[in-house]
Symmetry: C2
Subunit: 126 residues, 2 copies
């Protein structure tokens, strides 16, 4: 059986993929992949996601330059979630200019923004 | 607005929740939460997931004793994914007896099992 067929794709043909930074040991993003984007990720050695909002392949860093170079790909016990261990080029994974996307922290019943904005998104996407 | 209402629940009323171990800095599991299970997680200080297969609340560790004590809860930029930073009691998060669930590694087009089984599941669930 092909390794792609061993994945328990959901009813939309997607699987959640967690990008984890090898050196900083931080969770960067959770995005989604389909058959085609995961194949491209392996072939190109960089993360390629499936954008559910734009309904097309999304080569992470295609505009920002913040490419995620793939080091390792892991599948979980029930084959319905993936971890991609990456090197995050530029040290910025989030479109808000932060190192990672999980910057809202629950404090006393409120989401509080943490994590420095390392670069102004206007600069990143200009 | 209530903090729970700020979450972009999917069409099934669920959000993916990544459990991340504070001390080992490892991704343990990806599971799903609904409104009720995330509320319970906050109230009880331990992860409570929504089991999609059993269609009920799943207090992680209820059978195994491998409870995940909650240290921090994070939400991502577009509010549709959660990271829960936890202390994993017993050092085992996976029902296979491994420290975490992401033990299948892609090597030359094959999923190869890695990570030691720390305790026989027959012992854990007896």
């Amino acid at each position: 059986m092909n390794w792609l067929e061993e994945i328990a794709w959901n009813e939309q043909g997607l699987v959640p993929a967690i990008a984890f930074e090898k050196h900083t040991k931080k969770i960067l993003t959770l995005a989604w992949m389909n058959h085609e984007s995961l194949s491209a990720t392996v072939d190109e050695g960089r993360t390629v996601y499936w954008s559910r909002s734009r309904n097309k392949l999304w080569r992470k860093g295609e505009e920002s330059g913040h490419v995620q170079k793939v080091d390792e790909i892991r599948l979980d016990c029930d084959s319905d979630a993936i971890v991609i261990i990456v090197e995050q080029i530029g040290g910025i994974a989030c479109h808000t200019g932060r190192a990672h996307c999980f910057y809202k922290k629950l404090v006393n019943g409120k989401w509080v923004e943490t994590e420095d904005v390392l670069r102004d998104p206007k600069e990143i996407y200009s």
